[in-house]
């Protein structure tokens, strides 16, 4: 088996893994299963990033998503104790309608993907280095970089204030 074929097989396994994770994230009614599924799917997506040539982003994916977001969700689950609450039955019409709508959208996007002529840029640079990313972050995307910190600040303050961890608790 050539490297290429192995890579190919690994790719499809990755696909299977990702979608299995996604399915677990979406369908079961146990919220903890969902979180695990999400972690799985996110890790799979990180794998895609590897295939797409960016080790850096794959790493970030694992760090931010699997590391931070999933943990946050688990915390929320623990705080809201949903496991103690009754699990409602599935409403079939709702699921069916949701499935139809999602499928239509999926089909439409498929159509878009295959009907569009994707043309690569005329000149393509091959500079995948992290240095370039860092450089760009501090030049062209400087503003965004600043703003995203503000976003995080707002998120933190907002989460604290909204969730009720105000001075009441601290004082």
């Amino acid at each position: 088996m050539s490297t290429e074929a192995f890579a190919q097989m690994a790719f499809w396994m990755l696909v299977g893994l990702t979608f299995a994770g996604a399915a677990i994230a979406v369908f079961p009614r146990n919220i903890l299963h969902n979180v695990l599924g999400l972690a799985l799917a996110l890790a799979g997506v990180g794998g895609f990033y590897l295939y797409l040539g960016s080790f850096f982003i794959a790493l970030m994916q694992l760090l931010i998503y699997v590391g931070a977001i999933t943990i946050a969700i688990v915390f929320a689950i623990m705080l809201s104790r949903p496991l103690h609450l009754e699990i409602p039955k599935r409403a079939v019409p709702k699921v069916a309608m949701a499935a139809v709508a999602s499928f239509i959208f999926f089909a439409a996007i498929l159509g878009v993907v295959f009907r569009t002529q994707w043309t690569p840029a005329v000149e393509r640079s091959t500079d995948w280095s992290v240095e370039t990313i860092g450089h760009l972050l501090l030049t062209r995307y400087d503003l965004v970089f600043e703003v995203i910190s503000l976003v995080l600040l707002v998120a933190i303050i907002g989460a604290i204030v909204t969730a009720g961890f105000t001075r009441r608790l601290s004082s």
Binding site: I73, P88, S125, I133, A155, I156, A163
Partner: protein, 102 residues
Amino acid sequence: MNSLGTYLVIAAALFSLGLLGVLQRRNLIGMLIAVELMLNGANINFMAFNRFLAPEPAVGQIITLFVMGLAAAEAAIGLSIILVLFRRVHSINVERAQQLKG
């Protein structure tokens, strides 16, 4: 390696799966999880375009990075809002939230 189309289809499928989750989950946290899937779908798109079409490979990566950051912030805010709701109505079932209508 695999063509652009493959990645785009995977992205679309992931996005649609997330959409399905948003539409049918009753658990608000479940909905939030589904939204994360949708964002990941978009991210795969960016990375794929970055890999196959874009003139500068750095741009797509940077965008993906920022979207991840935003997703983190979003999750934090969303979870805090869900907690507010939980405190008041002791449920995170979205169907409990239908007082306002008409």
